[in-house]
Amino acid sequence: MRLEVGSIFIKDVQFGASTEVKSGTLYVNKDELCKVAGDDERVKSVEVFLARPGESVRIIPVKDVVEPRVKVEGSGGILPGFMTGVEQVGSGRTHVLKGAAVVTTGKIVGFQEGIIDMKGAGAEYTPFSGTQNVVVKVEPIDTLKQHEHEVVVRLAGFRAANYLGLAGKEVTPDEVKTYETLPLFEQSMRYTHLPKVAYVYMLQTQGLLHNTYYYGVDVKEIVPTFMYPTEAFDGAIASGNCVSACDKNPTYVHQNSPVIEDLYAQHGKTINFLGCIITNENVTLMDKERSSNMTAKLVRFLGADAVIISEEGFGNPDADLVMNCNKIEKQGIKTVLITDEYAGQDGASQSLADSTPLGDACVTAGNANQVVTLPKMDTVIGYPEVANVIAGGWNGSLQPDGSIVTEIQVITGATNELGYHYLTAKTV
């Protein structure tokens, strides 16, 4: 499967008479976008705001972030199973409005979380302070319950992103990258001198506000399966996960998976990248056993010498991470784990809820309990009062002057377990 990804660099976003890209600026017809995003009888109103890097703007609570993309050649469409049919995606050509993002905000539950600050200390913890954000605020009709509310806001964000993505269809990209994965036997024979590496891509799948979809299917309903890595770039994996802002994977991060990007970057040089196994993080211990058994079986079946395993979330998924690691290592296949930590505000506590001596190669994405003070912003898009009730905040987090004292777990993407974030370690 071969995919060309053409990036159109977006350096500014403005409202305009028509939705188009001109000289690196994305112009957005506000009324049209509101109409498209709100095209659902369960939506009462939609408002659209712009938030640019460096502006004194806070977005709270953030539900999802989606990158505008459009299919130019090849089968299927962006976000299959939701916005288009279920044709296979991941081949042909896709254009991306690189640097632009749709951010959805809507108070689905009272403790809804996720902060994006476009300026100040908070901006240093979220990758979405660096994107030209089109913020879509969705109010559902009054009678809507939590389950449907989540669906409504999720789909409004997808519609908005695909609508904006269309503006890039006829634009010549500034950069084109090509990614290719061959059918397994051909791929295995391609670089016989290099170690064969697969990627075990764990997806959050526990229930309401904790779900992830593959071609529109709730991933907790599937058994682990093989995915061509390029499918992710076309939105085959979509997020319905809007709890635990710091270490959930917004749809944008799935579309831009840095693990897949980096594995492709080394493909043919230091490794032979075979592809992805997507697996779930269900709530029953037997589901965990079944999925980790099948994941280990698939890794062995692919003939991998080593795997990268990334986790999504904390607590319950730690058990899945450890099971995957143990079962794959016991087959003589090396693992490298990517996770984040809840090591307490002083960083001194046990980081994960489970562990294994076989997990001896582990990359951390940071400590979610780290405390920061987020300065007051001039403009708040969304609902500032939720700062007191979101995870990582406490009664009094929201200070009288509008600043917020909180753990970084409230910040969207702060400890992202695919590594799509700013935290890093430096040798001093």
Partner: protein, 153 residues
């Protein structure tokens, strides 16, 4: 007179409902330890309702595991942190066998995680409490739907 008739039929209907629940659950070989009122409403005959916080639910589950019960769902299910949501529902086998060491490790680890998290002292609005209850119930439903084959209602 009509009101007496209404009450009579209502009473009969209620009895039938209870009978139905009894029929459905009389052979259940698991139960739910919970402090969530919504779970009590949905699974009235399957629950052990506790009037305590999340730690109390964890400790009750740990005691049962020490007596030979098996944990069916993960106690840290949900990204809503255990010091954030006031509600927790755990599914355990009714069967008492030899100590299941994995269940014990999982519940002890959950207790450790809970105790290291700071108390947040938030006086939640009733609407927010309802949201927490709905999320906990949904996570529990995910477990009930995926009950291993040896467990039945």
């Amino acid at each position: 007179m009509p009101i007496f008739l209404f009450l009579f039929f209502y009473f009969v209907a209620e009895l039938n409902t209870i009978e139905l629940w009894n029929d459905t659950y009389m052979s259940a070989n698991f139960h739910i330890i919970t402090n969530n009122p919504l779970v009590r409403e949905k699974y009235p005959l399957l629950i052990t309702m506790l009037d305590c916080g999340v730690e109390g639910v964890f400790l009750a589950a740990r005691d049962e595991i020490h007596l030979g019960a098996v944990a069916i769902n993960h106690p840290l299910s949900g990204s809503v942190k255990p010091n954030e949501s006031p509600y927790k529902s755990l599914v355990l086998s009714l069967r008492r066998g030899p100590l299941d060491e994995y269940s014990l490790t999982v519940i002890e680890s959950a207790i450790e995680v809970l105790r290291k998290m700071p108390v947040r002292n938030i006086d939640f609005h009733p609407r927010v409490l309802e949201d927490f209850q709905v999320i906990d119930l949904d996570l529990l439903d995910s477990a009930i739907v995926a009950l291993p084959a040896q467990y039945h209602t």
